[in-house]
């Protein structure tokens, strides 16, 4: 007897609501809230990465894909980080 794994679809409208609210929060944080510049920069980057993760995991269905497919998308990310870090370090030196 075999029981295949079943994935139920996520609530796409709820994800949309999260993205919408976070976009408003970003704009408010950037222009309205009195927050120190460095803290603001970190918070804005966290919000952007969080939104991007939501899109990748739920809209692109990475959360439900096999690991070997996820790796195709994940492998360039450390390479990208190395590229940016190397270029920045070259500039600093």
């Amino acid at each position: 007897m075999t029981t295949p794994t079943t994935h139920v679809r996520p609530n796409y409208m709820l994800i949309w609501l999260y993205l919408f609210v976070m976009t408003i929060a970003e704009v408010l944080l950037a222009f309205e809230l009195p927050v120190a510049r460095n803290l603001k920069l970190i918070l804005l980057l966290i919000l952007a990465i969080w939104k991007a993760m939501l899109v990748a995991l739920f809209f692109m269905h990475l959360k439900f894909e096999r690991w070997r497919l996820r790796l195709i998308f994940i492998v360039p990310l450390p390479l990208a980080a190395i590229l940016v870090t190397t270029v920045i370090m070259e500039k600093v030196w």
Binding site: F20, L29, A30, L44, F59, F73, P76
Partner: protein
């Protein structure tokens, strides 16, 4: 007597998978392309970071030159298009090939593949249109890839308040802004053209079915990636 529990996996359409990767080749090809596109945009964003933080002067302050409310609206439009794209995917997976259909007991009609993909195309075309209007206005006010045009409105503002408008590094600012948003806009335009092609050649003639909707899934992956990139670009170009 044996009982086999047959459960439909809603996230994996029943196509023959390629050995090794476990997915069909069109989808694998799109993922490999997206992986290369990650590196492409990383190169752009990395260059932007180096130019901005290694520049001899301060960049223009957020909102000083760029129209953030208009771009915020554009971001919302692209997020909406991503949702409509995933709704199109879900619709065809459920066999809903129609445009709109009445559901007994419900006020709102149920949208099918034809409806949701059309909404995605409209939102995508809307995004590109707003970006074109933004470019025309920026260039009209004197913000060009080479910096502030002499004698323009922005050049006068920048002369009056050089720190707020980042006068000393305006050329770097202009060239990196137009390069990054321009390449992203090109990606969106390619996506809209591809979706239009699919709409007229496959969706309207009802060639997709719950057994085979690879085109929708593959273009959907591309479209969500374009949305994902914009989420990052909006933050680092317009808000920081």
């Amino acid at each position: 007597m044996t009982h086999a529990t047959q459960a439909l996996d809603q996230m994996r359409p029943p196509y023959p998978a390629e050995p090794g990767s476990g997915v069909y080749s069109n989808k694998l090809g799109m993922w490999v392309f997206l992986a290369s596109d990650v590196m492409f945009f990383t190169a752009l964003i990395g260059s932007y970071i180096v130019l901005r933080f290694g520049a001899p002067g301060e960049w223009a302050r957020p909102g000083a030159v760029l129209n953030v409310p208009l771009t915020g609206l554009n971001t919302f439009l692209l997020i909406c298009s991503s949702v409509s794209m995933v709704k199109a995917y879900a619709a065809i997976a459920d066999g809903k090939k129609y445009f709109l259909r009445k559901v007994p007991g419900k006020r709102l009609q149920d949208g099918g593949l034809k409806f949701w993909l059309l909404i995605t195309i409209i939102c995508g075309a809307g995004f590109v249109s707003v970006q074109v209007v933004e470019y025309i206005k920026l260039v009209g006010h004197g913000f060009t890839p080479a910096g502030y045009r002499e004698g323009s409105l922005l050049a006068e503002h920048a002369a009056a308040d050089p720190i707020k408008y980042g006068l000393t590094v305006a050329g770097l600012y202009g060239s990196s802004f137009f390069t990054m948003t321009g390449f992203h806009g090109f990606h969106v335009t390619c996506g809209v053209i591809s979706m239009l092609y699919l709409y007229f050649t496959k969706v309207l003639p009802e060639k997709y079915s719950p057994q085979d909707y690879r085109g929708i899934e593959v273009i959907g992956l591309y479209w969500h990636f374009v949305d994902l990139v914009w989420i990052i670009l909006f933050t680092i170009v317009y808000l920081i």
